[in-house]
Every structure is written in structure tokens, then in C-alpha cells.
Amino acid sequence: MNKVVKDAEEAIQDIKDNATLMVGGFGLCGIPENSITALVHSNIKGLICISNNAGVDDFGLGLLFQKKQIKKMIASYVGENEVFERLMLDSEIEVDLIPQGSLAERCRAGGAGIPAFYTPAGFGTEIQGGKSTKVFNGKPHILESALTADFALVKAWKGDSNGNLIYKGTARNFNPVMAMAGKITIAEVEELVEPGELDPNFIHTPGIFVQRIFHGKTYEKRIEQRTVRNK
């Protein structure tokens, strides 16, 4: 069951204009750098992006905003990005903000065949909108629906040709739930190994959720808030 493709270009070659993409990562941590770069070099436009954040001006999804390739952003937090801000103020981009926990759970639900679930997050706020509500144990909840995507772009630390993935540190974040929710999930990894090299007991994303995998050539791994202490 060999899911290996040569590189990011091959992996994303059938992504069409107006596709819905999930993109893993939290801030700039654990983002699929190589797939994003390949998208930037493509002329794919009108993308609907589901990702916790919108990158920064000159890195991550910010690169796609610069080229106006994204028409709609579904995220929980879109600060720290002036290009995005300008596009938003000029109404060149549509934005749907979702509480972070609901975003994560809606992706998981999409992957798990659960079309909707109740959560208390957002009740009594503008997020509630016209959603149906119900009280459980005296506490009001709103019904949130599953999210899926034509493609999920995720980034892992190690992966095998079967598509099994292992993440490193907090670069895990949204990657596992988005891998579940993509109709086609494209995984890029820092280290690509043969089946049998990863311990079955410690796989974070079972290969069944991954359709394509490739070895990512370069990782800048930019740090947003470098915070250190003195020895």
C-alpha cells in the first residue's frame, strides 16, 4: 500500500480552483510548509481554507493571501497578519470565525462520521446565530456540524509509506483531526521510512486517514514568539 509521491508539486497537482482545504498547524508551528509553497507556485485560486490561524504576512498561509489565492478563511484566530487584515477590510476575503475547540471537534466529527454534536461554546454569543440549541443538565448547548474538506494538508515528523504518521511536540495540534477529515489527505514528513520502522503502538495518525505522503524538502520552522530565559 504505497502512498508515496515524489514531492509537494505532485501531491497537490489535482487541487482545483475553489477547492476546500484544511491546513494543519497552530500559528506557524506544525504547518505543511512544502505543500503551502507548492500552492503558492501554482495558480490555484478561490480556495476555501480551514486552519486555526492565517499565518503571518510573509510565511505560512500569509503567502497565499499575498497572492490572493484564498477567498474564504475559516479559523479561530487571524491576528498578526497585516495582509490578511487589509484583504478583510477591503472585503476581498470572507472570514468565518469559529471557537477553537469547536473547530477541532468539528474536524474530528467530519472524519468520524458524526454529522453534528452539541457544545456549550458560543452559547449566547453571536456565534450561536441560527443554530439549534438544547439544554442538557441545566446548561444550554448549541448544535455544531461536522467539517470536511476536499484536501487536508498536514505535516508530521515521521511517516511511513503506508501513511502512518508521528508528530513531534506541539506541532501535532490540528494535524491529526484534519488528517481524519480530508477526502484526500496529503501528509508531508521530515523523515519518510519503510513500513515496519514505526512502532504500531505509537502511531498518532493511522495510515488509513492518509492518501498521499511525501518527504518535505525544506523546513524553515519559523518561530513567532521566541521567548527565552537566561542561564
Binding site: 497552530f26 470565525l97 475547540g101 458560543g122 449566547g124 530565559r229
Partner: protein
């Protein structure tokens, strides 16, 4: 009047041994510096880590290890890492013992607004709506008034809400208050601050019962 550090110190006194705690950005983050002796606390960050340690030493930072504020961090022995859905399972499932976050406005019925100002650029709610809707035990850490001197403790919030009827305790630069039926109940005064000063800075109903003690910071 307390400074930011003092607010953090006062809230740190609420920490109980064995608690799992989620700290928001700003004043709440400072609390980690003032954990009482003999109290063992594990800090959760909603991007997927339990057992967060201090910032790394220079040149030891790891881009793959950050907190929800996107700052580089370290792990302590006994830490664990998990995905975002599991992280919010902890939060929504009320496994976190204490959540501390900032606010722009709090109403006397426990509503909170801290994510959006109409007319200004919207950055998003991040995990705040999940945190306030889910947590059983939330403390708001904030200045009592905003930069223009207007009270943040209101009869009714004027800004778009982050959560409804969820705040039960507030620690400001002037006072410690509980949100109870009827309004903000004054529990403690900041050193040197009078009940009248607090009343003056509180737009919502202030409930004062008996003599209000001064808070102890150190």
C-alpha cells in the same frame, strides 16, 4: 492599587495542590511565577500540552514546542502532548480545575466580553469561547477600569459577548469580587483602596456586606 504582578500574585493564592490550570495571555501568564510552596500545579495550554515548563534557555528553543501564545516553552517531567481535539476535550469536559483569563467587560450576571470591539479589526476568539463556556472555575484577571477610566464591571456588557453567565470570580487592581445573584459581591479590597473608591469604579451593582478585608498579596 495593585499592579499586574500583584494581581497575578493574589490569584496565585487561589491555587490548590494537584490542580490543572489553564492561563490566558497577559496578566494570567504571570501567575505561573507565583505558585505557593508545597502546591503542585500542572499548566495546560490549549494548543496541546500539559506540564508546561519555563521558557527555554537561549539557543535551546524548539520551534515544535510552543504554548497557545505561540511562545517557545519547555516541558516538565510528567508532561504529555496531544492533539487539539483532545485538548478541548479536557477543557469542555471540565477536567481543568481553574481557568484564568483577561476581560474587556464583565457583567453582574457573569457575562464576559473579551474578543471583539465593533469597528476594530477582529482577530478571533481563539479558545476563549470554549474556555468560558466550559470551565466550572474561572477567574477573570483585569484592571477594574479601562484606559479611558470607564468601569469594566458593568450591569450589562456593551461589547459582543464571549460567554454568558459563566464568570464567578474577578480579581482586579482594586478588589476581589464574586459574581452572585444581584451583582458583584466585594470580597477583598486592594491594600489602601477604600470601598468607596471601588464603588466609584464599578458601574454594575456592588454588594458590600459588613467589613471588607484588605487582600494579602505576599
Amino acid at each position: 492599587m495593585l499592579d499586574r504582578k500583584d494581581i497575578a500574585k493574589r490569584i496565585a493564592k487561589e491555587l490548590k495542590d494537584g490542580w490543572y490550570v489553564n492561563l490566558g495571555i497577559g496578566i494570567p501568564t504571570l501567575i505561573a511565577n507565583y505558585i505557593p510552596e508545597n502546591v503542585s500545579i500542572e499548566f495546560q495550554s490549549e494548543n496541546g500540552i500539559l506540564g508546561m515548563g519555563p521558557f527555554p534557555y537561549d539557543n535551546e528553543e524548539d520551534a515544535d514546542l510552543i504554548n497557545a501564545g505561540k511562545q517557545t516553552i519547555t516541558t516538565l517531567p510528567g508532561a504529555s502532548i496531544f492533539d487539539s481535539a483532545t485538548s478541548f476535550a479536557m477543557i469542555r469536559g471540565q477536567h481543568i480545575d481553574l481557568t484564568v483569563l483577561g476581560a474587556m467587560e464583565v457583567s453582574e450576571t457573569g457575562d464576559i466580553a473579551n474578543w471583539k470591539i465593533p469597528g476594530r479589526m477582529v482577530k478571533g476568539m481563539g479558545g476563549a469561547m470554549d474556555l468560558v463556556a466550559s470551565a466550572d472555575n474561572i477567574i477573570v484577571a483585569t484592571s477594574h477600569t479601562n484606559r479611558n477610566g470607564k468601569s469594566k464591571l458593568l450591569k450589562k456588557c456593551t461589547l459582543p459577548l464571549t460567554g454568558m453567565k459563566c464568570i464567578k470570580k474577578i480579581v482586579t487592581d482594586l478588589a476581589v469580587l464574586d459574581v452572585v445573584p444581584g451583582g458583584f459581591k466585594l470580597i477583598e479590597r486592594a491594600p489602601g483602596v477604600s470601598v468607596n473608591e471601588i464603588k466609584f469604579a464599578t458601574e454594575g451593582t456592588l454588594i458590600v456586606e459588613g467589613k471588607v478585608p484588605e487582600m494579602k498579596i505576599n
